[in-house]
């Protein structure tokens, strides 16, 4: 069943205290299914398979999951050393679920630290649960603050390009990059969003389009390859994306395709903004080249997506684009190879004077 409110709660405590409940994002927009995560395997699998995704949401899920597992371990009556060993083992498993997002390790480490060094298991588990609640509350507040700051960069009438999904589904609150869009819309600015579909798993068309459509914000889906062409036509006013890790000097690791958008935005003078919780900053890593990039299964690229975009969402589908001569190193024809400057004015039928080869 789809929730009726605009607000999507991507992660929460299960009603019966038995674990953590997430929205299974693999099934959207076709189906809205919640899943209860009870075991460490459940949580690791949900993170790894992208049932729960988005750096902040992953961090919150892992924090809450670890607190839940610690409570269960304490209830088993483990002694303190066995309890410590167990939660430390859980922490390693959770941190290993995905390597790129820094929030995951950061959230797990916070909950582990909250267990204290000398507490008995019951006391430690209660402290861990409080810390997980704090992380959850902080994540919501963080989203709101990012949204307000980001919205200050979005003017009335703007078309905003975003990539992947950085909204309510990706966080415990209203999102990061998409929070800026929500707050701008809320404050009465007439904006529209271009969501790049985000191959291979189509988080843009499946999740961002779904969230924005529910919120009544005009959204069009485009393939990644069409973004440069839209910018060339002056149809994008700014870009705003999220981040999985930001290095000391500001390099941004984010969903594949982000860098491409940044290069083409720069080429067209379109401002390129990154919105992320401060916990995304990994000051110990200086440069992006030092960030470990997760390589996922080729099957994701080689297969079609399992899900369609929500019904009635708009899309742009130009079949071609135009590359200016200035970007073309050579034109190879059956009458020779031509180089810049091109002038085919006297070309037909005898051909221009000077193919270079």
């Amino acid at each position: 069943m789809f929730p009726e409110t605009t607000n999507v709660v991507s992660v929460r405590w299960s009603g019966d205290g038995s674990g953590v409940t997430i929205v299974d994002q693999r099934l959207l927009p076709g189906e809205y299914v919640e899943r209860d995560l009870r075991t460490v395997a459940d949580i690791v699998d949900a993170i790894r398979s992208l049932a729960v995704r988005g750096a902040p949401a992953i961090g919150v899920t892992a924090a809450m999951g670890l607190a839940h597992l610690a409570g269960a371990a304490a209830a088993e009556g483990l002694n303190a050393p066995a309890f410590r060993a167990r939660i430390s083992e859980y922490g390693l498993a959770l941190k290993g679920a995905r390597p790129t997002a820094v929030n995951l390790a950061w959230a797990v480490d916070r909950v582990l630290r909250a267990s204290g060094a000398n507490e008995d298991p019951e006391t430690a588990a209660r402290a861990m649960r409080r810390e997980a609640d704090t992380i959850l509350a902080e994540d919501r507040a963080m989203c709101r603050r990012i949204g307000e700051l980001g919205a200050s960069l979005i003017e009335d009438g703007m078309t905003v390009l975003t990539h992947c999904n950085t909204g309510a589904l990706a966080t415990a609150g209203i999102g990061t990059a998409l929070a800026a869009v929500y707050v701008a819309h809320e404050s009465g600015k007439r904006i529209q969003v271009v969501a790049s579909e985000t191959r291979p798993l189509l988080q843009g068309s499946r999740l961002t389009a779904w969230e924005l459509q529910r919120a009544g914000i005009p959204v069009s889906v485009v393939g990644e390859g069409a973004v440069a062409s839209l910018m060339q036509a002056g149809r994008v006013d700014c870009c705003i994306v999220g981040a999985d890790r930001i290095t000391r000097y500001g390099d941004v690791a984010n969903k594949i395709g982000t860098y491409s958008h940044a290069v083409v935005a720069r080429a067209h003078g379109v401002p390129f903004y990154v919105a992320a919780p401060f916990s995304t900053i990994d000051a110990a890593t200086e440069r992006g080249s030092q960030v470990h990039i997760e390589q996922r299964s080729p099957a994701e690229v080689l297969s079609a997506a399992g899900h369609l975009a929500p019904s009635a969402v708009a899309a742009l589908n130009p079949a071609f684009d135009v590359t200016p001569a200035s970007l073309v190193a050579a034109i190879i024809t059956d009458r020779g190879i031509f180089r810049q400057p091109y002038d085919f004015g006297g070309a037909s039928p005898a051909g221009p004077a000077s193919p270079i080869l």
Copy 2:
């Protein structure tokens, strides 16, 4: 049934003289099905639905189709004025099937001109058939010549990025951009190809990967969004793409996504080549901004592809990429908005000194 030879014949005269036979490219790589086109509606539909695609193949198909239709009209015993009216009507219908590729109108006009002004229908139809045969033969020779010229730009050991499909399926011969790859491979150069998948219809993963795999040339499929990241890692040595229309001053209209690759190639110092028959040059159009860009159905973007890539083809699937700080206009966090130059070295836990907002 799949043909056993490496050479794919994308368009040919039907064996029984009843029309033109094409390979239905919508079904590849899953199924190899040939279709006979007999009526003008068959031909227009095959072109519009991309059953036959690729600017040169479309031109050859339309030329052969028109010659076939002229033969049928002459056989009906139409008088000369009725015959002229009929073939002129066919020509308009064929030219209207797709608007961007210049070859289509060029090939149709050649066949119409070959009908002569004062011939009787039978004589005119025979002349049109000869002209269509000439166009077919020229297309094959053109492919070979482009392949040889293009191969001269590809060195041993290079990784070549290509987009969409510009091979045997897209022409009556061995292709345009992909011809360069075929000839380089044939001459013993050890090369590999990165095929960008080419959303929404996946001509890269469906057709280019299929052709190259049959030819024994190593190929990896990537999503459009991953190309910039590959170039950033130094993994692409040159780009070679086809063209649907080249303007007087060298602007290149081609499959959506081409321009994006050109922008990112320029940003990384990777040479960007265009390979196309000389007939692709439309000297009457000065600039790319004057080219009519076909807008296709949003359903293509909003739905998953109907076909998977060929089995056992490779793919690259990095889940993230890295955008250098220099391309980031601002980083918006819950602790403020940061601008360049970024230095988060003293950031944790108090935050850097100077968010600007």
